[in-house]
Amino acid sequence: MTGTEVQLANQIGRSGLEAGHVGRKRWRELSARSVTSSVRVQRPTEKSRTRANMPAVSKGDGMRGLAVFISDIRNCKSKEAEIKRINKELANIRSKFKGDKALDGYSKKKYVCKLLFIFLLGHDIDFGHMEAVNLLSSNKYTEKQIGYLFISVLVNSNSELIRLINNAIKNDLSSRNPTFMCLALHCIANVGSREMAEAFAGEIPRILVAGDTMDSVKQSAALCLLRLYKTSPDLVLMGEWTSRVVHLLNDQHMGVVTAAISLITCLSQKNPDEFKTCVSLAVSRLSRIVSSASTDLQDYTYYFVPAPWLSCKLLRLLQCYPPPEDGAVKGRLVECLETILNKAQEPPKSKKVQHSNAKNAILFEAISLIIHYDSEPNLLVRACNQLGQFLQHRETNLRYLALESMCTLASSEFSHEAVKTHIETVINALKTERDVSVRQRAADLLYAMCDRSNAKQIVAEMLSYLETADYSIREEMVLKVAILAEKYAVDYSWYVDTILNLIRIAGDYVSEEVWYRVIQIVINRDDVQGYAAKTVFEALQAPACHENMVKVGGYILGEFGNLIAGDPRSSPLVQFNLLHSKFHLCSVPTRALLLSAYIKFINLFPETKSTIQEVLRSDSQIRNSDVELQQRAVEYLKLSSIASTDVLATVLEEMPPFPERESSILAKLKKKKGPGAVSVNELEEGKREGGELNGGGERGDNSAISTPSPSADLLGLRTGPPVTAAAPSAGSLLVDVFSEAGPFFILFILLFVCKNNGVLFENQLLQIGIKSEYRQNLGRMYLFYGNKTSVQFITFTTTVTLEPLIEGGAQVQQVINIECLTDFSDAPLLNIKFRYGGALQNLTLKLPVTINKFFQPTEMASHDFFQRWKQLSLPQQEAQKIFKANHAMDTEVLKAKLLGLGMALLENVDPNPENFVCAGVIQTKAQQVGSLLRLEPNAQAQMYRLTVRSSKDTVSKRLCELLAEQF
C-alpha cells in the first residue's frame, strides 16, 4: 500500500482538517491526493520514505519484532501465506513461553502484543493469557499497558481471566500512581463484569471524591463507576457520596465535569429526587460557559465554540427534569437558551464546518430542552424559526436534523402553527432531496404537521410522492396516507378517492387492514355508498388493476352496485361482466370473494341470474380443484335455484354496519361462531388470503396447490399471527392507530422462519426481542422485555402455554428451554400480563418456534439426492405449492433464506442451475425426519414452485406452508 493511498487526509470538499490552535501547522482544505503530496513535500522525513514497508519506530517505545511481524503479514500475497506466517509465529511464541529460560518483561510484552495482533486479525488465541496477567504486575508502564490491553480485548472470549486479574487491579488502584490507577480503572470500565463490580464498586466512589485524587483519575473513576452502575446497579450505592458527586459539576477542571456529568445524568435518571440539586448547579455551569467569550475556556474551546460537548451534556442532564421551580434558576436558564438562539443568528466566527457543527450541536440540544419543557411559547416559536432557516441550508446534515427536530415541535400546541408555515419547503424536500433518509424525515414531518386545514394538500403530495417513492419507505407511507385520510376526512368521498388511489398507485403495499377499513367505512356511511360504487366501478375499467382493487370492487359492487345500476353504462350486466373479466387473473381468495359478490348480484339484480348461474355451473367453477371455490359454486348455484326471492333477500341482505372502532380481529373471532349466512363471512374471506395461494390462471387448477380446507378452523388457516391470537394488535393496527398517538409496527413470527434473532413484538409500551439458538432437538430462547415508557411495569408475568408437542420451561431471566418431542404445526403461545399505570395489559404472542428450527443440514451428492427423492415417492410425503413472489427474486437473498432455514443448500445437484435444492434432517425426540426440498423460481412469471418431500407427511405440509410465506 502506498503512502498516497493511505494518507489520512480529509473528506474531499466537506471539511478541512485544520488544527485550530495557534502554533500548530495549518492544513489547507485539499483533496486527499494533494494533501498527501503536500505532506510529502513538507515532510520528506525518514517516516514517509520507509512507509512503503513499515514506519520507522521511534526510539524507546518500539517493539522491533512486532513491526517486522506486522510487515510480514502485510506482505503476504494470499490468505494461505498469511495463515502460514501466523502459525509459524504462534509456534515460535509458544516455544518461548514454554522454554526453560525465563523471559524478560520486554519479550513477554512483545509476544503478548503479537498474540493480540493475531487475535485482532480474526484468529483464535488459546494461550498467552497467563503471560498477559503476569505483565500486569510489572512496574513498567509499557508492559502493564499491553497486559491490560490484552485482557480488555480478549475478555469476552475468556472470562476465567477476570478472576486472575482482580488482584493486580487492586494493587494498581491503591498504588497512588495516577498512571497505574488510570490503567486499572480503564480495564474495569472496558470489562465491567459483575465480578469486578463486586470487587470494586465500593472503592471507586471513594477515589472519585477524594480530595487528593488527580483530575485524570477522577475522570476515569467517574466513567468507570458509570459502567459498573449500568452493569450492576444493585452494587453501586451512592448514598453518602451523592452530594459530593453532584458537586463535581462545580469542579475547576472541565474534563472532570465532562466525565462526571455522564455519571450524574444516569444516576439522576434513576433517582431523580436524590440528585435534583444538580439542576441549579448545571444551570449555573451552563450559564458560565454560554456567556464566556470564545477564547475564555482555552483548552476547552473547539473552533471558537466554548466547551461544546460539555454544553450538550449539561443541556441533556436538564432534560431529565421538569423546568426548574426556582424562579431565579429558571430565569437564568431561559437566558442561556435565548443566548444560544441568539448566537445562531450571529455571523460565524469561522467558516469551518467544525465551528458551525459545534455551535449547532449545542443549538439542537437547546431546542430539545425547549421542546422537553414545552412551556415557553416564545422559545418554541423561535426554535421553529431557526429550524426553518436550516431547512434550506446547503448542508444536508442540517436539513436532515432540522426536519427531524421540527417533527417534535409539530406536536406542541405552541409551535404547531409555526411549523405549518414551512409546508412548501418540506414538500419540496420530499420531492428533491437526494438522500432517502432526508426524504423520510420530510415525510415524517408532513405527517406530524398535518391537520384538518392542510390534510388535502399533504395527502395529495404524499400520494404523488408514492408513485416514485423508494421501496423501503412505501409501506410506511401507505399507512400514513391511510391514517391521515381517515383522521382528517371532511367528506368521505375524498376518503374513498384517496384509498382507491392508494391501491392504484401502491397496491402491493396496501395491507389488509387498509382495504378492510375502507369497506367498513363505506358500509357504515350511507352517504358515501353510491359514490364509492361509482368510483370503484370506474377504477375497475383500467385494463390492469391491482388485485386489492378487485377485492374492494367486488365487495362494494356486491353490496351497493344497485346504486349505480340506473345508468346504462353501469347496468347490472355491465358491472358483472367487468368484475368477471378480472376473475381469471385473481388468486383463489379473491375469486372466492367474487363468487360471493355474484350471488349478491343475483339478489340485487334478478336479471343477471341466468348469466351468473351459467358461470357457476361451468366446469371451471363447479369442478374447480380448489375445494373452497367448488363448494361456493355448488352452494351458491343451489341457493339461487331453490330459494324463494324472500329467502334469498334475507340471506343476502346488505351488510349491517360494523361496530365502530372494533378491532377487525375481534369482530372476526366473534363472527366465526355466527350463523352460516353467506354475507357475514365475506370480510373474513379476504382475511384468509395472503396472496401466496395463487391460482395461476387456467393451469393453476392442476392440483399442484394445496389449499387448506375451508371448513377447517379459521384460525388454523394461516400460519402467521394475522389470524391467530398472536396479534390482537396486529389485526387492529389501523383501528388502534386512531386511538393512540402514532403508528407502531408489528413483526410477525413468519419473519423468524429463516432467522433466529430480532424483534418479535413492539407497541408503544413494550418491545420484545428474541435471540434463540438450536441444536438437534433442543433449543434455547432468550426473551428481552423492554419497557419503552418511563413508568414502571408492575407485576410483570409471562406464561408459556405448553403445546402438547413442545416442552417449555420459563426460567427467571426469560430464558426458555425448548425440546422438540415430535413434529408440530402450532407454535407455543406466550402470554404476558402486567400492570401499566393501573391498567392490566394482557398480550398473547406466538413464539417463533417452527419445525425447521430443529433441522440438521445434510450434505449429499447429486446421485444420493435423487435416489432419496425417489424413495420418498408416496403422494402424501410430498407437499407442493406454487406461489407468487412477494419479494425480489434475488439469488443471494434466496440462498441466505434457505440457509437460514437450517437445511444444507446443495450445489450442482439440480440440472437447472436456477433451481435450489436442500436437504436436512429434523431432529425430534421421537424420531428423525429426513426432508428434501426443491425450489424452482420462474423469474418471468414472478412465481415459485416449491416441493418438499419428507418421510412424514405432516412435516412436508408444514414446511411447505412455512416456506411459501418467505419468498
Binding site: L8, I12, T36, Q145, N156, G255, W309, Q319, Q767
Partner: protein, 162 residues
C-alpha cells in the same frame, strides 16, 4: 431515555472494509461483531457527499447491562470519512448527531498530532497505542476528555514512560 445515550462502538475501517480499530462498549459475541463490521461498511461506503453523515441501523445484541437488558432497537451510525478511512460511532437514535460528528473530528485531530500526520499505516503498526488514545478520549461509551491539549500532554507523558 437519556441515560441510554452512550456510544455502543467505535469503528475505523478502510474503504476495502478492513477494520483498523474496533472498540466495543456493549457486549456482542464474535459473530455479531463481524456482522456489524460488515453492515457498517456496507451502509457507509455507498454514501457520498450529498448524503448526511448519519445512517440509522437496526442492531440486536446482548448486553451485560442489567439496567438496559434490551438491545434490539434502532441505532445510528455517525461517520466521517478521511481519505480512505471511515471513522464511525454508533449511538442511540436520540443522541446528538453533531456532537458526535465533531467528537470524531476531535479524535482525528489528536491522532494526527500524536502520530505527526497520521496515516492508515500508523494505525496498523501502532494499534496498541491507538487504544490508549481512545481510552483517553472515550471511556465506558462516554466522552471522557475533549481538550486536545490535555489529551496530547497526557499521551506524551505516557510515551516518555518506560
Amino acid at each position: 431515555m437519556i441515560c441510554e445515550n452512550w456510544i455502543r462502538f467505535i469503528l475505523i475501517q478502510n474503504r476495502a472494509g478492513k477494520t483498523r480499530l474496533a472498540k466495543w462498549y456493549m457486549q456482542f459475541d464474535d459473530d455479531e461483531k463481524q456482522k456489524l463490521i460488515e453492515e457498517v461498511h456496507a451502509v457507509v461506503t455507498v454514501r457520498d457527499a450529498k448524503h448526511t453523515n448519519f445512517v440509522e441501523v437496526f442492531i440486536c445484541g446482548l448486553t451485560c447491562y442489567t439496567l438496559f437488558p434490551l438491545q434490539f432497537r434502532n441505532f445510528k451510525i455517525i461517520y466521517r470519512r478521511y481519505a480512505g478511512l471511515y471513522f464511525c460511532i454508533c449511538v442511540d437514535v436520540t443522541d446528538n448527531n453533531l456532537a458526535y460528528l465533531e467528537a470524531i473530528h476531535n479524535f482525528v485531530e489528536v491522532l494526527n498530532e500524536y502520530f505527526h500526520n497520521v496515516c492508515e499505516l500508523d494505525l496498523v503498526f501502532n494499534f496498541y497505542k491507538v487504544y490508549t488514545v481512545v481510552d483517553e478520549m472515550f471511556l465506558a461509551g462516554e466522552i471522557r476528555e475533549t481538550s486536545q491539549t490535555k489529551v496530547l500532554k497526557q499521551l506524551l507523558m505516557l510515551q516518555s514512560l518506560e
